[in-house]
């Protein structure tokens, strides 16, 4: 029955008799290949994909795409393969007919990495002529990676029609990759291919040249060596830029974590070991906000962080004020007791969160605008890091403005500079103390919102940041926000330039040693406060 059907289809599409015959033969190949999906063996599935792509049957593309989306099912008993379409209807892959009652033993065709890689490669050469430029670009990139010689004909066809410059460039590069790896292309072709790859100039290009077969003609080999040198020089430059970017990003995280401490420790002089837990409270606030949004209004998910920021500020700030009123205000001027009390407090807060939310990590999702990355020249910039840098700077500017321009800021500065004088001027110093501590804690809470995007949300979240935060504040200069800013970025960038040479563990140790030496020389940090405030 379907043989006949196939004949009709073939007649419609084919031009000559020869074509008809060929298609009929291939149609049989398509059905035969489908059996490979019904054995639940990755090897057979891989063979089936190979057979399907070489069958040239027009149904192969949609079938493979469905397979990639895990929409292909099989029944081992009836040896039949089904495709689930967008509306969850089952279609027999061989006949194209809808299936009303699926067999009882129906199972998903399973994929593993090898099969997924093959699918990408096969779909790459099949979708080179797709309508959407983004799909064509993906396809061209897949072919560049797979270097599958059988895709060459398709690439040439696609190149003729292509008018999107980006896709065209990638197609040319994919073509060059195939030519360089095939034994029977001419020396001239290979030389021009090397030029194309050299101009691409990224890590993948270097990998391609490193992986070239060794039996190349001498001229090509020479060209490859010089291209290699050029790419490496190019990459070294980008590498330095990439490290600088990573440094900025790490610095912004350090700054974000430390900025609240710069208020409580830097401005007020309280050794606040529970600072990290305020960060953690902010992160858990984000978690709760996201849970509520997931339950009640999933459409708002992309705004969850925007909603969480003020809430985290309020939650952590309120806890901060409560802590100041109930514990810290009795301990002013007794740093050792403050240290111990806040250390105990941090343990209490951790255990409280562990009891309420459980000890396991909580899933805090990234909104779509914070996921993924883009390439800027030779460096990869991830969106979440980019947004965190922007956010950190915004928080810093807002805090600075608050301290400079508002009445509360003025009073805070007055109290920290000369408490007795401020009190004599009618400022309620106790109230200012509580508010300042609340402000520092609230900012730590905001930091928690951002850190929930890159780190674990677990009761231990804060512990990882407390030492780094103190390091930044002490290094930058106690009592100076600008010092905290410069300190954070200096440490971040120094760390990231050390890490590739020394490794993460030694890099961190080296930074600590450098700080110890620096503090010996300048005990008050980079930007020391001068004048009467120091003695106050």
């Amino acid at each position: 029955m379907h043989r006949f059907h196939e004949r009709i289809v073939a007649l419609v599409f084919a031009v000559g008799l020869l074509f008809v015959a060929a298609t009929v033969a291939n149609a049989g190949a398509y059905e035969d290949a489908l059996i490979g999906f019904t054995t639940d063996s990755f090897g057979d599935t891989a063979d089936a994909i190979d057979a399907l792509t070489s069958s040239g049957d027009p149904r192969t593309g949609p079938l493979l795409e469905a397979l990639k989306d895990q929409r292909v099912l099989y029944s081992a008993e009836t040896k039949k393969v089904f495709i689930k379409d967008q509306s969850d209807k089952l279609i027999d892959a061989a006949t194209g007919e809808a299936v009303a009652t699926p067999p009882s033993d129906i199972e998903d065709v399973r994929l593993n990495n090898r099969v997924r890689g093959m699918l990408d490669a096969a779909l790459g050469s099949l979708t080179l002529l797709a309508k959407e430029p983004s799909k064509r670009l993906d396809a061209a990139q897949a072919v560049f990676k797979s270097r599958d010689a059988s895709a060459l004909a398709n690439i040439d066809k696609a190149l003729e029609k292509e008018n999107d410059p980006r896709v065209k460039k990638t197609l040319t590069e994919a073509r060059a990759a195939i030519i360089l790896n095939s034994a029977d292309s001419s020396e001239e072709d290979k030389l021009s291919a090397i030029a194309v790859i050299r101009d691409r100039g990224d890590q993948d290009a270097l990998g391609l040249i490193d992986g070239l077969p060794s039996d190349l003609p001498p001229a090509v080999k020479q060209a490859a060596i010089s291209a290699r040198g050029k790419i490496q020089g190019n990459l070294a430059l980008w590498n330095a830029l990439q490290n600088a970017w990573y440094g900025l990003s790490l610095g912004s995280v350090l700054l974000l974590a430390a900025i609240g401490l710069a208020i409580t420790f830097g401005v007020m002089g309280i050794i606040n070991m529970a600072h990290g837990e305020m960060v953690m409270l902010g992160a858990y606030t984000t978690f709760v906000v996201q849970e509520l949004i997931r339950t009640y209004n999933p459409a708002l998910f992309d705004y969850s962080l925007v909603i969480a920021v003020p809430l985290a500020f309020v939650v952590a700030g309120a806890v901060g004020i409560a802590v100041e009123r109930s514990i810290i205000r009795f301990l002013y001027g007794r740093p050792l007791e403050t240290l111990l009390a806040t250390w105990g407090l941090s343990l209490i807060l951790q255990q409280a969160v562990r009891t309420i939310f459980g000890p396991t990590n909580k899933e805090v999702g990234n909104p779509s605008w914070m996921s993924g990355a883009f390439d800027l020249g030779g460096i990869t910039i991830t969106y979440n890091r980019l947004w965190i840098i922007c956010f950190t700077l915004a928080v810093f500017v807002a805090l600075l403005a608050m301290l400079r321009l508002t009445r509360l800021g003025l009073e805070m500065r007055a109290v920290t500079q000369n408490r007795a004088m401020a009190a004599a001027m009618g400022i309620r110093t106790a109230r200012i103390d509580a508010l300042t501590f609340g402000l520092g804690s609230g900012i730590a809470g905001i930091a928690g919102v951002a850190l929930s995007q890159i780190d674990n949300v677990s009761p231990n979240l804060g512990q990882g940041y407390i030492i780094d935060s103190f390091m930044v504040v002490v290094f930058g200069g106690v009592g100076n926000l600008w010092g905290t800013l410069v300190g954070a970025f200096t440490l971040g960038i120094a760390n990231k330039f050390l890490e590739p040479y020394a490794g993460a563990v030694l890099g961190k140790i080296a930074i600590l040693v450098l700080i110890i030496l620096f503090i010996q020389k300048r005990p008050r940090g980079m930007f020391a406060l001068k004048g009467r405030a120091v003695e106050a």
Partner: protein, 440 residues
Amino acid sequence: MLNMNRAVFAQPHARRWLSAAAGLAFGFAATYPAAAEDTIKIGILHSLSGTMAISETTLKDTMLFLIDEQNKKGGVLGKKLEAVVVDPASNWPLFAEKARELISKNKVSVVFGCWTSVSRKSVLPVFKELDSILFYPVQYEGEESERNVFYTGAAPNQQAIPAVDYLMSKDGGSVKRWVLAGTDYVYPRTTNKILEAYLKAKGVKDEDIMINYTPFGHSDWQTIVADIKKFGSAGKKTAVVSTINGDANVPFYKELGNQGVKATDIPVVAFSVGEEELAGLDTKPLVGHLAAWNYFESIKSPSNAEFIKKWQAYTKNPKRVTNDPMEAHVIGFNMWVKAVEKVKSTDADKVIEALPGIEAANLTGGTSKMLPNHHITKPVFIGEVRGDGQFDVVWKTKGLVPGDAWSDFLPGSKDLEADWVTLKCGNYNKVTKKCGSNPS
């Protein structure tokens, strides 16, 4: 999965009173004169607070569940089992103190506990001195076999080496270049040493192995992921073997996802990432990354289905996941029960004598056996991460793999043998024919 530990009893004392009260109530109901001597006490030594609470709390719940189940069947030797829960609070010296308290003060017959190797090492002298039994349920670096300890987690040859074998095979992608990434402590360092020796024995060259260590709780993975990408684009198939410790994994996988490292390009096979660790993650960008374990929740077998059903009913949480160390406790507990019933006594010496050779069903459809070296036989599975946070088993060993206490791939260690049945020694040197000098 997410709110699995909502109802965790973080205060061990409250829990202990609760179980004591329950035991008491049962005693009255059965009209026996309820007395502590009528129960067999089982110590549970898992951190319920501090850093390790994230992993260990579940194991405490598992033990309470198993004891509850056993009591429903009538207990052991006609006596009820009674759990004694203590909280060592992720504090290694406190582990030793709490172990001593369990054995000498509470007179427990056996202890199930510990997670990190350092906590195990810290309690070893206590168990030797007071001659009691410890069941240790976590995969570890090997290089140890003690008379008083039974290792129900995987030794390196039951997890790391099969995983590498799979990646080298055609199905695993014929990997030629290796990144060994781990947290900087004893388990990753030893495992990587074994793996490095193993890879070199398989003909992998020095320049094709990259070893990288990071501090505990490392959260800035940008440079390392970029390095891995660079290392992986040298034209040879590359894979990452990760012994990164639990907490640092979430930022690591997030960075992998964000920098677009896909499993089809550079697969990551992890030894410390299970169903629980994935709970804090959106797994869609991670589909295809691998984990090697002796148990996965997604494995279809009648005993596993029954276990999951009962476990979720016991915890009153239909989403609660199960994982590999839980299964290790299940096997270990059943082995202990069988050994006790065999010798009709809970005396530590008799039970230690009886345990080697005892068999107990595992949850994946096989039967594990306690070996003379105090390790057990286990199947090894390789799973790929699915979009729903579970694993899809893509490969498994044929039959069960016996645990090897002393790795054959480390100099010094390959001459050693552990055998507590005939040799009565945990580190017998096959060359010098002597039981090793270090205490055993």
